[in-house]
């Protein structure tokens, strides 16, 4: 079964969530600074958030494992649209094909919702919380 677009968008949200739960301060500095920022995940699941103000390494493996299909790498480019509105382009390289997804979301909404639900990140990724996933999908514009 090949991954669907909503699943990929959810993965993008979860990667940001892990970055945030790994280091809230650095993550906020990067996403709030001027200019683009990127998230790259390699085959071993090592993820890197890179922006003009710095970078942060975190473990993206649990999120990629949840997709099912083997992911060789992920590259996501985030760029500012309006205030707090972020557009993104992402490519998930599978073994044979690549799946790319385009979208936009409110970064503040995503990160601030963390205080209520999102911050239980790592634990929740291991035990999937369908209610939270629904909320993420809504924020990320998933179906």
């Amino acid at each position: 079964m090949n991954p669907e677009s909503a699943e990929l968008k959810l993965t993008i949200a979860k990667l940001l969530e892990i970055a945030y739960s790994t280091n809230k301060e650095v993550t906020l500095q990067i996403v709030r600074s001027k200019g683009n920022f990127t998230v790259k995940v390699n085959e071993n699941g090592q993820a890197t958030l890179i922006g003009k103000s710095g970078s942060l390494i975190f473990n993206g493996k649990p999120v990629l494992e949840a997709i099912g299909a083997k992911i060789k790498r992920v590259s996501i480019l985030f760029y500012k649209d309006k205030k707090f509105k972020v557009k993104y382009k992402a490519t998930f390289s599978l073994e044979i094909i690549s799946l790319s997804v385009r979208g936009s979301f409110d970064i503040e909404k995503l990160l601030t919702s963390c205080s209520g639900i999102l911050c239980q990140a790592i634990r929740a990724i291991k035990n999937r919380n369908s209610q939270r996933e629904k909320q993420y999908k809504k924020i990320m514009g998933g179906n």
């Binding site: 079964m1 090949n2 677009s5 990929l8 299909a69 083997k70 590259s75 996501i76 480019l77 382009k89 992402a90 490519t91 390289s93 599978l94 073994e95 044979i96 094909i97 690549s98 799946l99 790319s100 997804v101 385009r102 979208g103 936009s104 514009g141 179906n143």
Partner: protein, 138 residues
């Protein structure tokens, strides 16, 4: 009369080369039709791809299932490499594009690279033939 015949012949050959412009799309249509049958579809892929197939990733060759309705397509061929872009929508009417690279191997056009892009809006469709490497985030 002789000259008229020559002009007519030139026009006909012109039409024939115009038809050649849909080579890749015709090939894509044949691949798509083959996905409805057994495992016939494998013959539409280059060795670059078939050498890496195993039981867990073979379903990726059925990428055409991501699109339930086609809207437009564009293709270009440069010597032995071709690019085909197919725009359409998925089951829930969400916009999706296929970017395919073709290689001419032993006089056959075979799919050698694939990107499936899920777009945010139909206005974001590309209106030219692009290869997967042109659209991937690096």
């Amino acid at each position: 009369m002789k000259y008229l015949c020559i002009i007519f012949a030139l026009l006909v050959s012109g039409c024939a080369s115009f038809n050649k412009e849909s080579t890749l799309y015709t090939n894509y249509e044949q691949y798509k039709e083959s996905t409805l049958k057994s495992k016939d579809y494998i013959k539409y892929f280059s060795e670059v791809i078939t050498n890496n197939i195993n039981a867990s990733n073979e379903s990726q060759l059925l990428f055409s299932k991501y699109m339930s309705k086609e809207l437009h397509h564009y293709e270009r061929i440069n010597n032995k490499i071709g690019c085909l872009t197919v725009n359409g929508v998925g089951d829930k009417n969400e916009p999706v594009s296929f970017f395919l690279e073709y290689k001419n191997e032993n006089k056959k056009w075979l799919i050698s690279d694939i990107d499936v892009t899920f777009l945010e809006d139909k206005k974001n469709y590309n209106s030219k033939a692009l290869c997967p490497k042109d659209v991937r985030v690096k």
